[in-house]
Amino acid sequence: MNKTIRNLLTSAVVLALAPLPVFSSGGNLLIKNGTILTVTKGVIAKGDILVLNGIIRQVGQDIQAPAGVQVIDATGKYVIPGIIDSHTHIALDGTNEGSEAITPEADVGEVVNADDTAILTALSGGVTMVHTMHGSANPIGGPNVVLKMKWGRPSEELIVHEALRTLKFALGENVKQSSRTITVGGPPPRYPQTRMGTNAIIRRELLKAKVYMEEWDRYNKLKASKTPPKNLLPPGKDLRMEVLSDLLRGKMVARCHDYQATEALEFIGLAKEFGFKVQAFEHAWEAYKIAAELAAAKIGISVFADSWAYKMEAAEGIAYDAGYCAKKGVLVSINSDSGERIRRLFNEASKTMKYGGLNETEALSLVTINPAIQLGVDRIVGSLEVGKQADIAIFNEHPMSSYTRCDMTIIDGDVYFDRGQYLKEREEAAKQAQAPKKGGRP
C-alpha cells in the first residue's frame, strides 16, 4: 500500500470527523467559474484556474479541462492564494530550548511533527504554508522552518526548502523572564534579566562569531596557500558559531521577537554593526512609532491584528499598527502565533480595513503575498499567477467579509480540505451512531 494512503487511512481511523485530504488529484485540477482574487494581478470575475502537476498553468476565463483533469465548480465562490502564516509554533515537538539564553543550534526543523492536528485546523482556515518558529525564551533561539500543511505526508515532505533560512531572536519581557517568580533556594536567575543584558549577550555572541569566522578564514587561507604550514590544525567546530556565521555571511536572516520601539531600534543598530539582515520583527506592537526607521532599513513586521494588552510591553499595541505601517511602506504580515487563531487569519487581516484604511486587496496581501515575500517564497507561492505552485483556498464569500467561510484548501494541486466532503462524512457518522448496534454493551 502506498505510504500516503496508509497515512491517510490511519488518520481517518483516529480522527473520524477530521477534515482529511479528499484524494490526490495527481496535482491536476481545473477550478471553474469563481471570482479569482489573484492578489497581484487583479480580480477575475467568473474565472478559471488550470493546475497541471501541481503548478498553475493558466489563469483566465473559459479554460477547457484537458482529459482526465478533475473540475472543481467554484460558481459564486472566491478563489484566493493559499493563506501563509508568517509566525506560528504548530507541528513541532518542541518550541523553546529555554535552559540557556543562547541556543542557535536548537533547530526546530529537526522536530517537525506532521501528525499535529493543528495542521488540520490550519487547513480548515485556508492556510497552506506556515513559518513555524523557535519560541521566544532566548535572546538567540534557533533556526525556524517553513512547512506546507500537507496533512498525511511525512515530515520531510512538508519542509519548504526554497524558503529563506531564518534564525529566531527575541527581546523584552519573555527573554528577561519578567513573569518568572524567583524563589529563595531555587535556581539562580538566568542571565539576562534586563533589556540591557539582552542586547549585551547578543552582541557578545556576535563578537564571538566574528572571531570564530576569522579563525576559520585564516585556517582556510593557510590551507589553500601554496605551501601550507606543516601540522596545520583546523579550529574546533562550534555548532552555535556555525549558525551565527551563516547569519553574518548572509546565508540566514534574522526574525526577531520584539515589542517595544527602543529594543527594536537597538537591534537594528546591532544588525548594522555586524552586517546581518533583519527580515522582520515579530509582534512589533510599537512598530507604528518607528515606521520610518523600519521602512528605511527595509525591515518587515509580522504582527497580530489586535490581540494586545496581555502584558506590559503589549500595552500600547494599537490595532492601527499593521495598517499604518503598511501605508508607511513597511512590509507587513498578519500572523497567528496560535493553533487557534491560525484558522481565522483572513478575519484578522480584514480588520486592517477599519483600522488603517487598507483596501480589500491590501488587506488580503497581509496573509498571502506579503508573508511569502518575508519568507522568500514569493516566486513560488503567495498569489495566483501562472508558474506558481497551486496552493489555493476557496471561500464562500469574499475572504475579507466577516461572514466568510473557507470551503476548500488545495496544496500543490491536491485537495487537503473540502468542507463538502467533511459535511458528508459527518452526516454518515451521525447515521452510523444512530443505527442500532448488534451485540456489545447495552
Binding site: L15, A16, L17, A18, P19, T117, L120, T121, S124, S179, Y288, K289, A292, D306, S307, W308, A309, Y310, K311, M312, A314, A315, E316, I318, A319, Y320, Y324, S338, G339, E340, R341, R343, R344, N347, S350, K351, M353, K354, Y355, E360, N396, E397, M400, S401, S402, Y403, T404, R405, Y422, R426
Partner: protein, 431 residues
C-alpha cells in the same frame, strides 16, 4: 449714541434669547436620512430618529423635525441599536499578564458577596475601544470558584462606576462544577473549567447544600422577624447574598460546557427552582432540545477557541449557536474579553458564516441579550420610548470593514476617541 445702545441691547437680547432657546428646553436630536435597522420590525430606508430626553421620541419615515432640533445628516449611513456584550470583563482587567491590573477572580469557592461593580474601573482603556465599535452595554462578570460573585449590566459611558449601572446585580455567577471537564484548547480561558473535574460530584452536592442552608437561613430570619422571642440568626455572608436568587429576584448565570454537565445543570436549575441563563455551553448543540424544553437562554462563549473535543468536528463551536437557534433556544453572543471586547459583532458574524440567519445574528447582540437580562423595555432595539442607544455606521455593523461614525448612549453623543486613536494621532505627528 442712544440708538447705538438700543441696537446693542437688541443684539444682546437676541443672543440671550437664542442662548436660552437652545439650552432651556430638552435637547432634541434628529438623525435624518439614515437606513434604520431597528432589529425589531422591518428596516426603514431614509428614515428619521428623533431623540428627546435621552429617549427615542419617534422613529420612522415621516417624522416631523421640530424647530430647534439638532439635525444630524445621516444620508448613506445605517442606524442600529447599540450592541450588548453578554459576558465581558471590561473594567475588571487592563493587562491580563499584570496581576495588579486584574480583578476578575476572588479566591475561595463560594463568593456570592462579591460584586463586579465594586471593582469596575470606569476609565478602563478598553471601554472606549469597545464603545467606538458600536457596543453600548455589557455584562461584566466575575469568574472562578463555584459561586463566582455578582455580575453587573453597564452602559459603556459614565464618569464613575455607579453612573454606568443599568442593572446591578445582573446575575449571580455560578461556575458549574465540570463532570467531564470544560473546553480544552488554547489557554484554557476564564469562566471555563473553574473547578477541576475530579471532585465535581462533591462540589455539586456542596452547591446544593449551600442553597438548602440558605433556604433554612431565610426561614429562620422570617420566623424571627415575625416572632420577637426567636433569635435572629447570626449573619452568614454567603447565605445572605444568595437570598435574592432563592426569592426569585435575581437570576443565576451558570457557566457550563459539556453536554453531560449541561444536563446536570438543567436538573440543578429544576431542583432548585431557579431563574437561570447558561453561559459557555460549547456542547449545547448535543442537547439543544433539552435546553429548549427547560426554557433556559444561552450566552454563547467566545468563538475564538477550539472545539472541546476534536470529535465534535472542527466547526462545532461555530455551528453550536446555529443549532441552538434552530431548536428555539434564545441565544446571545459574548466577547469574554476586555481587550478585544470590541470584537463582539464578529463572533455573531462567524456563526452566520456557518449558517445562522444574519438577522438572528444581529438580534443575538441586541434584542436577545436585552430580553435575557430583563431590560428589553429599555434597550436592544430602535423603538419609540426606548433609551436612545444609537449607532451610526457606514455599513453592516457585523462586518469588520464597517466604520462606526457616531455612537449615542442615553441620547448623548459619545466621544469615539480611545487609546488606539490617541496613540495613532500622537505618532502621526512624527510624520
Amino acid at each position: 449714541m442712544t440708538k447705538r445702545i438700543f441696537i446693542l441691547c437688541l443684539i444682546v437680547g437676541w443672543a440671550a434669547g437664542l442662548f436660552f432657546a437652545q439650552t432651556k428646553p430638552a435637547k432634541v436630536i434628529a438623525i435624518k436620512g439614515a437606513k434604520i435597522v431597528p432589529v425589531v420590525g422591518d428596516d426603514i430606508d431614509n428614515g428619521t430618529i428623533l431623540i428627546k430626553d435621552g429617549k427615542i421620541e419617534s422613529i420612522g419615515k415621516d417624522v416631523a423635525i421640530p424647530n430647534g432640533a439638532e439635525v444630524v445628516e445621516a444620508k448613506g449611513l445605517s442606524a442600529y441599536p447599540g450592541m450588548i456584550d453578554s459576558y465581558s470583563i471590561l473594567g475588571l482587567q487592563e493587562i491580563s499578564g499584570v496581576s495588579a491590573t486584574v480583578d476578575t477572580r476572588e479566591t475561595g469557592r463560594l463568593n456570592p458577596q462579591v460584586f463586579a461593580i465594586e471593582a469596575l474601573r470606569y476609565d478602563s482603556m478598553h471601554i472606549p475601544i469597545a464603545r467606538s465599535n458600536g457596543i453600548t452595554a455589557a455584562i461584566v462578570a466575575p469568574s472562578g470558584g463555584v459561586i463566582a460573585g455578582q455580575s453587573v449590566l453597564i452602559k459603556l459611558d459614565g464618569w464613575t462606576n455607579r453612573e454606568m449601572v443599568i442593572k446591578n446585580p445582573a446575575a449571580m455567577q455560578i461556575e458549574f462544577p465540570a463532570i467531564r471537564g470544560g473546553r480544552g484548547g488554547f489557554g484554557g480561558g476564564m469562566g471555563r473549567g473553574g473547578v477541576v473535574a475530579v471532585d465535581a460530584t462533591r462540589l455539586i452536592a456542596e452547591l446544593k447544600e449551600v442553597f438548602n442552608k440558605a433556604r433554612y437561613y431565610n426561614k429562620r430570619k422570617n420566623f424571627a422577624s415575625k416572632n420577637p422571642s426567636l433569635p435572629i440568626p447570626e449573619l452568614d455572608e454567603t447565605l445572605e447574598f444568595i437570598l435574592p436568587v432563592l426569592k426569585g429576584e435575581l437570576q443565576v448565570m451558570i457557566s457550563v460546557h459539556s453536554d453531560r454537565d449541561i444536563k446536570a445543570a438543567i436538573q440543578f436549575v429544576k431542583d432548585e427552582n431557579l431563574k437561570a441563563v447558561f453561559f459557555g455551553v460549547e456542547q449545547g448543540w448535543k442537547v439543544a432540545d433539552d435546553i429548549k424544553i427547560a426554557n433556559i437562554p444561552v450566552i454563547i462563549g467566545s468563538l475564538y477557541d477550539m472545539p472541546p473535543v476534536w470529535d465534535d468536528g472542527y466547526d462545532s463551536l461555530f455551528r453550536n449557536p446555529v443549532i441552538l437557534n434552530k431548536a428555539g433556544v434564545k441565544i446571545a453572543f459574548s466577547s469574554m474579553s476586555a481587550s478585544i471586547a470590541k470584537d463582539l459583532p464578529y463572533h455573531a458574524a462567524k456563526a452566520a458564516a456557518f449558517g445562522l440567519d444574519k438577522k438572528e445574528a444581529l438580534k443575538a447582540v441586541t434584542i436577545y441579550p436585552a430580553e435575557i437580562f430583563g431590560v428589553d423595555k429599555l434597550m436592544g432595539s430602535l423603538e419609540k420610548g426606548k433609551i436612545a442607544n444609537v449607532v451610526l455606521s457606514d455599513g453592516d455593523i457585523l462586518e469588520t470593514k464597517t466604520n462606526i461614525k457616531k455612537v449615542y448612549i442615553d441620547g448623548k453623543e459619545c466621544d469615539l476617541s480611545n487609546k488606539y486613536t490617541e496613540l495613532l494621532e500622537k505618532f502621526k505627528k512624527r510624520g
